[in-house]
């Protein structure tokens, strides 16, 4: 029964397409499948660990200083991700660039700390973090894949479309308008399929 916290994050409470939070990193880093996956994994790491730690210390943290405490915990994990990426995945670090430090202000993470981890036990918070992470990574990865294929004709940098397409590709998909258009289309599909609107 507790596993519903996990499953909820993927569709019914999908952070991007249903809760509509964390839109900036979704739009900004979904320009290629690889960048999107990198951002998804980095944010997931921070989300899962900050949920666990916020939940673990929730009983000793007084109500009125909980937000600063959340921010310290989140920024600690963001800095860890930042250094580990720099050390072991320097190519990806250069692509994700400014977006890594910006995970600190990703609404999904602070939002889950406040709305869930502060009120529930460690295991439930872990499941919630995992579910929301999978939901976020899935959406950003799908967007990255579609945008990369449409704009550059490649998938993870490997050519998959014929040359005739690449020379006349939908270049605008890599720019912000392409991102907004695509997220609108995905939102519409989700609404139709799961919310019966």
């Amino acid at each position: 029964m507790r596993f519903k916290y996990f499953w909820n994050g993927i569709i019914l409470e999908n952070p991007v397409l249903i809760l509509m939070i964390g839109l900036c990193p979704t739009l900004a880093t979904s320009i290629s499948a690889r960048d999107a996956l990198g951002m998804g994994i980095a944010a997931s790491f921070v989300l899962i660990f900050s949920n666990i730690f916020v939940s673990a210390i929730r009983k000793i943290v007084p109500d009125n200083i909980r937000i600063p405490v959340f921010i310290i915990i989140i920024s600690t994990f963001v800095t860890i991700v930042d250094y580990i990426l720099q050390a072991y995945e320097p190519d990806m670090y250069k692509v994700l660039g400014v977006f890594v430090p910006l995970i600190v202000v990703n609404c999904i993470i602070l939002g889950r700390a406040e709305a869930f981890a502060y009120r529930y036990g460690i295991f439930d918070s872990f499941l919630d973090g995992l579910g929301k992470s999978v939901g976020f990574t899935l959406v950003i990865f799908i967007m990255g894949t579609i945008r990369e294929i449409l704009a550059q004709g490649t998938f993870f940098g490997a050519k998959i479309m014929p040359d005739i397409y690449i020379n006349n590709s939908l270049l605008f998909m890599i720019f912000p308008p392409g991102g907004f258009l695509l997220i609108g289309i995905l939102k519409a599909i989700i609404n139709k399929l799961f919310l019966n609107k």
Binding site: I57, Q86, L171
Partner: protein, 177 residues
Amino acid sequence: MRQILVLTFVCVVSALLLSYVYLFTIPKIKEHKEKFFTSALSEIFPNIGGYKEVVKDSCYQILSEDKTRIIGLVFRTGEKGYGGIIEMFVGIDTLEKVCGLKIASPAEGLKETPGLGLKIREDKFKSQFLGKIKEQIKLKKEGGEIEAITAATISSKAVCDGIRKGIEKYKKYLREK
């Protein structure tokens, strides 16, 4: 009182954790920075005796094989392009002529548009700079000798400006020991 204790506790734990992560990642990070530079260097000056850093992280004197003379300079320069900073390594010889150019790849942080601005990395564009002196490195419509990439004037201009400013700033190190 309890608030102070909790905040202090959280901060101390966080600081300890971070200093530990920093300690074991910093050697790796330094190694990667070094590698980007040495690969650029060997591309621009294939046979050298050594190099000397004259401006930290940006300008290096290249020494001849017997290490007695300075045969050129390699400097790092950056200029704002269309999508962000275009970072490049430029090599000049003792006559202040450009003898090599390496522009960072998208994986190394280049943010120009694929199919347009990204063409600055192609040899067809880059080879125009070889053997040119500062005064020649301008777009044709500004009185120089560099043919801009169609529909990517901003990126093309940024490369020219970056190289020109770099030469201006660092050429004095060609003479200084």
